[in-house]
Symmetry: C2
Subunit: 249 residues, 2 copies
DNA sequence: GCAGATTACTGTACGCGTATAGAAATACAT
DNA sequence: ATGTATTTCTATACGCGTACAGTAATCTGC
């Protein structure tokens, strides 16, 4: 009790896989021994379930700690017994969501397979854009999504990349996918707002034309030129990454 | 006045380039005619300047509308006469900041030049991580930063890419850079927190090993394997993108 | 002078995430 | 029984971004 760090947040964490963690402290064996302190009145699973329901029904913006607390019949701060902060709640909510996602049919060729997985990854998140905010915090915490990393790395290795190179390739692809999704989402949202801020292309005037001739030239078609096919870009990236392999002899 | 949309936010916007917009409404010619309504008591420039000072001195987390209002001797809501929301204030703050950034020496070869610009871009933002939050909202609003887009696109064209391809290449590079920065920042922050959440590699147990053999194998070295050299990855991406050029004949 | 019109600002309020302090409810050692 | 340790939950409070409604100060046309 001297000046060391105090232990906090002792309660068992919520397991993403819908199995209650049986409180390792109660009994040394597997049998969930009785807890020591005040008994729980909240069900950790119910908290996550409520959060998920709110998100499903009204979108991620409708989710608030106060709202969840109200709906599970408690106070906001009580939730903090089970989650460190709102982000953690989101993370747990996400972890349970992607459980039932079918894997697509994948090509045999490692290169094509890599591309296909990356495209799949992109499309997956594109359809549930709210996870973007969460994914930054905990990398891909969901085991159900790890097969994509596994596949990409495996393919990279099959094409002769070293272990480090293969992992780097995975991260590079993921970073691009993430960046693309963030900006696409931002642009979509911007387009939805009525009084949009002028695109930078509108700012290009006389004196800029001298310094930025190419941008000035392309400005009128800028919006249109921006739109690319993600698969094409991913293909290019994959080819670039795979070109780093030492040639198979 | 019937059922049309009401006009709001009539006040002239703040010009990023530190020149006051002279209120186009007062007089048709250039002379800044007298304004019509109640005279201003706040200086738009001062608002942005104060925001910038707070960020420089105490970091972006210290910035709040209330704080800025207090420091310019006004009320929070008064600021909303000049900026639509906090994000816009951040955007304006950013726009003025990057003014005095010197361009680096660049290689002549288009490919190397592309890579160099992308690396420069990455390093630039890496040194002021708070801009990440802002950049999503408005694309690159700062004219002083547009030369990088210009250079990249120009190089891509020089290497035989079509106009659309060149713009796509720029966006692809930018999306990757952005994604990389976001995740790197997130990881740095996570590492700084004492009680870090277990990395996914710690979650891999028995049954996972069967489904995810490669990840399980790499798990012990995961943290180390993640770290890549950005320039290497950018080089690979650039090469991949440039390989889409139709061969110069 | 005086009545709008127009612009700039004030006051109040809402819901938010969460820090902090303490109260309540249990198990366990005495 | 009685304290003590442990855990869970409650109460209160802070600062946040900003919606909304009103007030104040100026210009313009009469």
């Amino acid at each position: 009790m001297a000046d060391g760090e105090k232990k906090k947040r002792t309660p068992g964490p919520i397991d993403p896989d819908n199995r209650e963690v049986p409180d390792r402290r109660g009994a040394p064996d597997g049998t969930a021994g009785r807890r020591r302190g005040r008994p729980r009145r909240l069900d950790p699973q119910a908290i996550v379930a409520t959060a998920r329901r709110i998100i499903d029904e009204e979108g991620v913006d409708a989710l608030s700690m106060r709202r969840v607390a109200r709906e599970v019949g408690s106070t906001p701060m009580a939730l903090y017994t089970y989650v460190r902060d709102k982000d953690e709640l989101l993370l747990l909510t996400l972890a349970g969501t992607s459980t039932a996602l079918p894997r697509p049919q994948l090509p045999e060729d490692p290169r094509d397979r890599m591309i296909a997985v990356a495209v799949h990854m992109h499309g997956l998140i594109r359809r549930m854009p709210w996870v973007l905010k969460v994914l930054v915090r905990g990398d891909v915490t969901d085991k159900k999504a790890l097969w994509m990393a596994e596949e990409i790395i495996e393919c990279a290795l099959a094409r002769g990349l070293g272990e480090a190179q293969a992992v780097h390739a995975y991260r590079t692809l993921w970073h691009f996918v993430y960046g693309d999704l963030v900006f696409t989402a931002a642009r979509d949202q911007r387009a939805a707002e009525p009084d949009r801020r002028p695109s930078f292309t509108a700012l290009l005037t006389g004196q800029d034309a001298a310094e930025l001739p190419r941008l000035t030239e392309l400005a009128p078609r800028w919006e249109e030129l921006q739109r690319y096919d993600v698969e094409e870009q991913l293909t290019a990236i994959v080819d670039g990454l795979l070109s780093r392999a030492r040639p198979p002899r």
